[in-house]
Assembly symmetry: C2
């Protein structure tokens, strides 16, 4: 056993996996999402931390029916390898959905992804070189910042008001020719704010003027509780049509969609809508990344969109609207003047509260959990600069109304204790 | 409509998506797999090109049963978000499988991936910096080369004989401290060759002596048609045990497994086995990449492994063995002296043929398809250097025996025509 002896001789080496890891591994800090999900799952805690749909509202019966139909209709084709471009039936349903909203979308403008998290990752890999400038809002989705930060980008940060990104900030950022402008346009994660129609037109105009692609993350689009929102994707299509042009030729908006909030996160079905030159580039990167997303799940999603989505979405809008109303009411009642700013979202899962500048919400969180039994997402990780420490994101999606009332009351007590 | 006017003004810009793309996008060339899959799917062609399981052999009934069980047993939990580390039930089944073979594996040594293609991509991202040296065999899996090439690595190429990588080449490569040694150890894609037990011990010993991680891709491990093969992962566990040490502390073999060839490619269930420090690093990268792989599919895979795998695997080994036997026989009969070297795989999907040095198989392919109705995978893309032009990979997995006979006869005619 010469080899065994060799292994014994190596015993004294000081091998370390940590020192073997790449720079990218070191740059990708997962503490944000991971810590939030960890806290959210502790028993007995009323948690406004995670951005999860209520599992009891997931369409179990519909998905069971779709699974049976897919396996009996498509059979082995649902279980075999596919192409990176995805399942035709799904691209067809998604382009129909997009056209119905007023966009100009063909199936070749669609590529399914493993949730929209993979959509962001693929777009980052397709467009970003190490150290490139990119434009983001302050705050923005922390899972996107986690991806971008591995590229050590120069962040061009854009402040927001209640109509969305502030135009002077947008223009100042675009002048520096970022690789793209990433923006959660509708019921934003984390603030709940939606870009107004007028602001949207101006942003699209600026991005065309400076030739900067917009990466529009619209994960919460279907979850409207008042008027149906308009995406930048649709605004651009309308503006292009008005000047006799087509999305495929002249579109600059790359749209990220997902069924995670409005069907099932566990199926991991998201998609990218883009001019086909971008879709082809993404398909090529996706092939190296995982060949393609799950085929059976893509068929199930297509079946769900065709037969169940409209009705199911109506139902969950009613259920989540009640929670949104309760959350807004309870925040007014129990936080009162403790909340220096509080958003009133027209949809989605989140509202955003800014408290006294003296309070660091990241430091408040363990106290709030241990002594008051209530959790929230501290605001700092949602800023590229981590500069704002007195904000918090409250997710009202995964608690029944009476728990929302009780939880926000406890949160008020936690804030009062400071 | 000031914004609309803005869009009109931008009409004369010479915007190009191509020039917006990243260096990585440009480096990731997908022509290899994509071209092969394209040719494989033309109607009327007898194709030895793709490495696909026969769809008629996929366990449709078993997977249908598992889907029903999972949705009725786990319900909403199968459709909700999960953690990047994967579903416990699956990690448990996979560690049991690994221990049964003689490895030393706990559930915390396992992380599920979206097929083993994503396993390779995650490992590349965890260990590789731009320009790093990595050791690979010549030839090796082209999908891995596609991933690695985006890092512009310095390839340290290792030649193989019928027992696997040649030791003097391995040692010469390891001396240059590559980030890792990637090797398809069992029924290799593309050659079908398996590393012998003795060669495996020596390779493991060398990697320990030089402190270089081995990335063992064992995608075809369960498809043995003669004796059951032994992975480097198991060889290392045995050597470590012999010197009183544990995989978790001193393992250097990172193992990539997949159910794509032995259950369903369309479900995209693969996994990485590694010491937990590596699993944690991979989980962190995976979170940024796609949060996690499909939850329902992970539960279905666990259910399949528990209740169906052993019996199903016995059945497909018999079916594919018959095809392997036919392929080896037909090559001898119809290619004869045209084949200067031909492997005799003990399992898997592939055999490898080297023909006269004058023949460039990439140039032969279109002639072979158009005039003789038969397709194969040219050998060059399986080499980091693309230097060998007179080889071809023949996949016998997706053709009935009579088609194998006819196809190889036609291939002989195509070669004769040169």
């Amino acid at each position: 056993m010469q080899a065994a002896r060799t292994l014994e001789q190596t015993e004294c080496h000081s091998f370390s996996w940590q020192s073997s890891f790449s720079q990218k591994r070191r740059l990708m800090d997962d503490s944000g999402i991971r810590a939030i999900l960890g806290i959210a799952s502790r028993p007995g805690i009323l948690s406004f931390a995670g951005g999860l749909p209520d599992p009891k509202l997931l369409p179990l019966d519909e998905i069971s029916e779709c699974s049976r139909t897919v396996l009996s209709t498509y059979g082995h084709a649902a279980l075999q390898y596919g192409v990176s471009d995805g399942v035709n039936a799904l691209a067809h349903e998604l382009s129909r959905l997009s056209n119905r909203k007023g966009a100009d979308c063909a199936p070749l403008n669609i590529i399914p992804t493993t949730g929209s998290q993979q959509g962001i990752d693929l777009i980052a890999n397709a467009f970003l070189n190490q150290g490139d400038p990119i434009a983001v809002t302050s705050p923005t989705y922390l899972g996107a910042l986690q991806i971008f930060s591995a590229f050590e980008p120069r962040y061009l940060q854009i402040s927001c008001d209640d109509e969305g990104p502030i135009l002077s900030d947008v223009e100042a950022a675009l002048k520096q020719r970022p690789a793209f402008f990433y923006v959660v346009s509708i019921f934003q994660n984390p603030t709940g704010i939606t870009i107004s129609r007028k602001r949207g037109e101006a942003i699209v105009g600026l991005c065309h003027a400076y030739d900067v692609p917009i990466v529009e993350d619209a994960a919460y689009q279907e979850l409207f509780y008042d008027a149906e929102p308009v995406s930048l994707r649709v605004t651009e299509s309308e503006l292009l049509r008005a000047s006799g042009r087509r999305y495929e030729d002249d579109g600059r908006v790359i749209y990220l969609g997902t069924l995670s909030k409005v069907m099932s996160p566990g199926l991991r079905v998201g998609w990218i809508e883009a001019p086909s030159a971008v879709v082809r580039a993404i398909a090529c990167l996706k092939q190296g990344t995982d060949l393609h997303s799950g085929i059976m799940n893509q068929f199930i999603a297509a079946e769900f969109l065709r037969n169940h989505a409209d009705e199911y979405w109506k139902g969950i809008r009613v259920a989540y609207k009640e929670r949104r109303d309760q959350a807004v009411y309870s925040v007014k009642q129990h936080l009162g003047s403790l909340a220096q700013r509080c958003t009133s979202p027209q949809g989605g899962f989140f509202l955003w509260v800014e408290v006294d500048q003296k309070i660091d919400t990241a430091q408040l969180l363990p106290i709030s959990v241990e002594r008051f039994g209530v959790a929230f997402a501290p605001g700092a990780p949602f800023f590229a600069s981590h500069a704002t420490s007195n904000a918090m994101r409250l997710s009202f999606s995964n608690l029944p109304v009476e728990m929302i009332e009780r939880g926000i009351k406890s949160l008020g007590e936690a804030l009062h204790s400071q």
